[in-house]
Amino acid sequence: MVVLSVAPAAADSDLVDSVAEQSAPQPPLLEGRGLTRVFQMGDAEVAALRGISFKIELGENVAIIGPSGSGKSTLLHILGLLDRPTDGQYLFAGVDTDDLDDDRLASLRNRAIGFIFQSFNLVSGESALDNVAAPLVYAGVKRKERSDRARDALVRVGLADRLHHDPSQLSGGQRQRVAIARALVTRPALILADEPTGNLDSHSSGEVFSLLEELQAEGLTLVTITHDQRIANRATRILRVEDGLLTEGDREAPAYLDHAERTRP
């Protein structure tokens, strides 16, 4: 198995270097210590997360499951460095993210995290190639290399013949594969998928999951947020969020799992 470094190829940022250095004794990729997140709703304070701790190692395939309103979206935003905890520590590759300013967080999102959204979030009016290359623009990669890497990523997800299509010309499954290519293109350590198959039919869902699992098998860390136990069962580890608290969940093995699922290591 290839272990991907957190640092992408173009590691010109001190931050990414330091993240890479500190990963020498291999701290967990993600670590939460007593995370709380409180929202101010008018006069009332609502606690979405009430002190949760966890460790996710590099290369894991983790599903975070919970009903809507459980706090799993809030957890996703914190994991993805889009939001900060009200209290507690969130360490990314051993680095306390509280020490990082917004620009550094943006840079870390850019280089170390690939996001996959339920509604794909592609920019219409821009070709698949431009959509996939977008993170590389913010990484400061030169145009030629951007286009090469974006093309490679699209080939990797099986869309070699859709490079110049507008998202509106693609099916749901194809759009999500473009989004996966966009998440992959910076060679991140972590893929954060938020209900990645929520808007797809079962056939496309199967394709997308197979693709994500292949990538995970190649060394990427995959964290999937879902409310669907069947999807969660495909992960090697399940974390359950309920009422703002986190518990290690059980892998239930429903009878309908197919052969490939059952024979997975």
């Binding site: 943006a106 850019n110 280089r111 979030n121 821009e126 623009v137 913010y138």
Partner: protein, 405 residues
Amino acid sequence: MSYAEALRLALRRLRTNPLRTFLTTLGVIIGVGSLVALIGVGQGTQTALTSRIAGLGTNLLSITAGGSVSGGIRGAAGTASTLTIADANAIAKLPGISAVAPEMSVSSAVIVDGRQNTTTSMTGTTAAEALVRNYQIQTGTFLTDLAVSKGLRVAILGPTTVANLNLSPAEVVGTNVTINGIPFTVIGVTQPKGGSGFSNPDDFVFTPISAVQSRFTGAASLRTIGVSVTDPNKIDVVSSEITSLLRLRHQLASSTSSDFSMASQNQLLSVASSTSATLKNFLIGIAAIALLVGGIGIANTMLVSVRERVREIGTRKAIGARRRDIGRQFLVEAIIVTLGGAVIGVLIGMAVTGPVGNAVSVPAKPSLAGIGLAFGSALVVGVVAGYWPARQAARLDPVEALRYE
């Protein structure tokens, strides 16, 4: 994200909705176009006025009878008969003066040539008039000293007057006409000075002052005396000497105000140029308002655009865009729309300056300064109009933006 990347992104974005891009740009096109055209017309007006006033005579001091006080009411300039031919002769003897033209006027003179007739103003004067008021002869001759001393019934016509008689300058010389019923022979036509409409400088008839005095007015009083000074730099000295001389001749006590007034060409020029500068600023003001409205249009479209693209902004933040990357994207977009509009506006403005000038009888042409000003203000408008929407976009919370429906 570099500015080059922001530029590429903005161009791609603007191309996806060409109609909206065009409509957004339209305000700036109109604003910049009218700025260029109106500055051209304003400058044309200024140039035309200045050259017309300069054309009235260089080194000119104009003395007008008037300022007489009767019963505490000051009469209008030119109404009192305080200036005489003798005054003019006395002024001519002062140093620093090259020519003096006494001017006796008949405000309504009907010229009849066979079946054609026209009404103009008649001025009785001397041969010095040509020098003092800067007239060039087109055909024939100007008034001669002989004609003036003999009181010959000869006339010099302005080109417009000739045209009003439906004659050409060549055929009018030598013809006999009547002026207010008295026969005169036309001996010359002057070169046109240009201009039209109110107070046309080419519509007049000059006759020897002696003829006017004996045939029309019967009095020796003059409306004006035109004085040409030798050195324009000494015009103030000369004018104060003339004032002293005339006050002495008119036996005015030092406490009494003068019964004449004097204006130099320079004063006229400065009045005219300040008037036309006011006009120009007024025109620029109107165009600037048009440009401002165009800028508001851009700001509005950009704000709508930010609203429409909240999710895109959230996504871009998630994949690593920093605040300044997002801000730059929207700012560059606003500036491109504005500058694109400015380029088209300048071209249109340059194209219409001439025709607009023609419509108001002003020789207008687009000026480099006007184009520069229009372009510069468009850039400012673009930055200002883009700044607020760009800031809003940059400051969006990524979590909120991603959740936005």
